[in-house]
């Protein structure tokens, strides 16, 4: 289909989207987040589960002094010793820990041979948590979890929602009645409670969380698809596919679905944001993604105990802000997308 100016509709939508300042900023921030999540190992100074117990609960901007020791269990992730000072004597390295106690290690057990390789003074940009893990590192890895939850859960929700919505809208009759009954049953539960319920049923874990969120969030999509199909079904090109003898599935997925794509896309950006919130909420209650995999919800829960003490707010504040920013940009982007795809908004 083309617009009166001869542009394809998706091109027109893209042009409108680019003019929307909020949406563009949203896209850029989202892009940065995705790049950070993918490049996590290269931009973070530590492994997310590396603990330096001597450095537990340090404030943002803390500078440490550490010696990297070879880790026999996993050569890629060195063990870390916190030190206050060190000295090389022959084949040994003498060092004092932050409390001032002296120790000795053989140089061959350290990473590399030269102090430049095994000693460093890393910056803990956002401070550390109670196990002395770097908050910045965990925040970036938590972004991975949040974005994958959004992506995978929303894909599950889309698959179920589109399938059921299309069946209900295309066949109507008893298929519609049964599916709408299911929609109404699921709708009787607040989404987050349903996610909690499915998490209890499926158990804790990474994949269980994705599935629990996915199968709780398909109803809105199913309803939109059904509504769209109700009207699309009456259009002439659908009748034409029938006259040509196409099967129902071919008509539904090849011809009708692409014409219902606009609202589905808008709804899935909102769903993406909701999935991120749902995962964080689950981790906050202790269901969901389990330690040591870092997740924003867990980090917020960990920091919660320190809020009342009045110390180390960063442990709660930073993951909260990251989540708020993520959800905010998704919502702004979704709003822009809706305006861009809506043929009713005036062409500016």
């Amino acid at each position: 289909m083309t617009s009166p100016t001869g542009e394809s509709l998706s091109r027109l939508a893209w042009r409108r989207l680019r003019k929307n300042k909020g949406a563009v900023i949203g896209m850029i921030v989202l892009g940065i987040m995705i790049v950070m999540a993918i490049a996590a190992p290269f931009i973070t100074p530590f492994d997310p589960s590396t603990q330096i117990l001597e450095y537990s609960v340090k404030p943002a901007g803390f500078h440490g002094k550490v010696i990297y020791k070879k880790n026999l269990a996993d050569p890629n992730v060195p063990s870390i010793l916190a030190v206050s000072s060190y000295e090389e004597v022959g084949d040994s390295v003498f060092y004092r820990d932050p409390a001032g106690e002296p120790y000795r290690v053989a140089r061959s057990t350290l990473v590399g041979t030269d102090p430049h390789e095994y000693y460093s003074e890393p910056l803990f940009l956002l401070g550390t948590d109670r196990f002395g893990r770097d908050l910045f590192t965990r925040l970036v890895y938590g972004m991975r979890v949040s974005l994958s939850v959004g992506l995978i859960s929303e894909s599950i929700a889309l698959a179920i929602g589109i399938f059921l919505g299309a069946l209900a809208g295309y066949y109507r009759g008893w298929a519609d009645d049964v599916i709408m009954w299911m929609v109404n049953v699921v709708w009787s539960f607040p989404t987050i409670l349903l996610v909690v319920a499915f998490s209890v049923i499926l158990g804790k874990g990474y994949w269980q969380t994705f599935v629990a969120i996915g199968i709780s969030s398909w109803v809105d999509i199913a309803r939109i698809v059904r509504g769209q199909f109700f009207s699309i079904r009456e259009q002439e090109y659908v009748e034409a596919t029938r006259a040509l003898g196409f099967g129902s599935m071919r008509t539904i997925f090849r011809h009708m679905l692409p014409n219902a794509a606009g609202p589905i896309i808008v709804l899935s950006t909102a769903g993406f944001a909701t999935a991120i919130i749902a995962e964080a909420s689950l981790s906050f209650i202790g269901l969901g993604v389990q330690p040591p995999t870092p997740s924003w919800g867990q980090m917020i829960k960990d920091g919660y105990g320190y809020i009342a003490l009045g110390t180390n707010w960063g442990m709660t504040l930073f993951p909260s802000l990251s989540m708020a920013i993520g959800v905010l940009v998704l919502n702004v982007f979704g709003d822009g997308l809706r305006d861009a795809l809506d043929p009713k908004t005036s062409q500016r």
Partner: protein, 306 residues
């Protein structure tokens, strides 16, 4: 009208049956008896536990029994405390109701006020401020807002106590109530604004203006009344989201309602208690929505016929 009423009620019962069946299946994976007793329990005591929980019967029998008990108001016994789940929930209803009702009240009043103000002068700074604040409200999950409030108003500024129940003073209500109200407030403000702008563009509003009524009168008497319909739907729909929000808010503020009980039950996998609280929330939600639907049916004949 009677026909409409009967149809509506019958359908609600049908939906509730589905809700009960879903709730029945909320239990930890594997053998719940084994989960509860731990890995080291001998098979005889696991068997006894299975019998006690009724897990030795076939599934349809279990579901049937669950429904029969439910009709008698029996939600089973909590595994953690061995108290009746129904009793525990009932004694916690007032705390949650107080929190939820005051929050939705505040959210509705302020939300409508904000939305109307924004629609009064669209695309000005008032409007932009309302829209962006409400976007922020929508983007922050309730528990994060709660924690940030505890941090700023409880710890830094020390304006309000950051945890405890209202029996210690009215100031204990403030933070949990405001926290819970933020999201519905944001959404109600947006819906009111959109609906108001929509109504203001219609012919009868133009007619009212054309016949010389002051714009304030047109705005408040003619437009607002019709603009509020979608707002009422939003309020009733958001009531459920608010009830779910109490699970987190009550935990953060140590507010002894149903949500706190549910939160503790989830940590212990006390599944009869989880089932009870989830079911309770869902039933309240269905009831609120059905009543809202029926009220529309009375007010607006168009709803009855569709």
């Amino acid at each position: 009208m009677i026909n409409y009423l009967l149809r509506k009620i019958l359908y609600t019962i049908l939906v509730l049956i589905g809700v009960v069946v879903v709730t029945f299946f909320i239990r930890p994976p594997g053998d719940p008896a084994r989960v509860l007793l731990g890995q080291r329990a001998d098979s005889a005591s696991v068997e006894a536990m299975r019998e006690q929980l009724g897990l030795d019967k076939p599934l349809p029998v279990q579901i049937g029994k669950y429904i029969i008990n439910l009709v008698q108001g029996d939600l089973g016994r909590s595994i953690a405390t061995n108290r009746s789940v129904t009793e525990t929930i009932l004694e916690r209803v007032p705390a949650t109701a107080l929190l939820a009702l005051t929050s939705i009240f505040i959210a509705t009043v302020l939300g409508v006020l904000l939305g109307v103000t924004a629609a009064w002068k669209p695309n000005t700074w008032v409007d932009t401020l309302t829209l962006s604040t409400s976007l922020l409200g929508i983007s922050l999950p309730a528990f994060v807002v709660g924690l940030l409030f505890v941090l700023f108003f409880g710890v830094v500024l020390e304006w309000f106590p950051n945890s405890g129940y209202i029996d210690r003073g009215i100031e204990y209500l403030v933070l949990p109530m405001v926290t819970l109200a933020i999201r519905p407030l944001a959404i109600i403000a947006r819906i009111t604004r959109a609906s108001m702008l929509d109504v203001l563009g219609q012919d009868y509003v133009r007619t009212a203006r054309a016949k010389g009524l002051s714009s304030r009168k047109v705005f408040l008497k003619h437009a607002l009344r019709n603009a509020l319909n979608p707002v009422v739907t939003t309020v009733s729909a958001w009531f459920a989201g608010l009830l779910a929000g109490t699970y987190f808010i009550e935990f953060i503020f140590n507010w002894p309602g149903i949500g706190l009980a549910a939160f503790n039950a989830i940590e212990k996998l006390d599944y009869p208690m989880i089932q009870g609280t989830v079911l309770f929330t869902a039933v309240v939600f269905v009831a609120v929505n059905t009543v809202a639907d029926l009220v529309y049916g009375f007010i607006d004949p168009k709803v009855r016929l569709s």
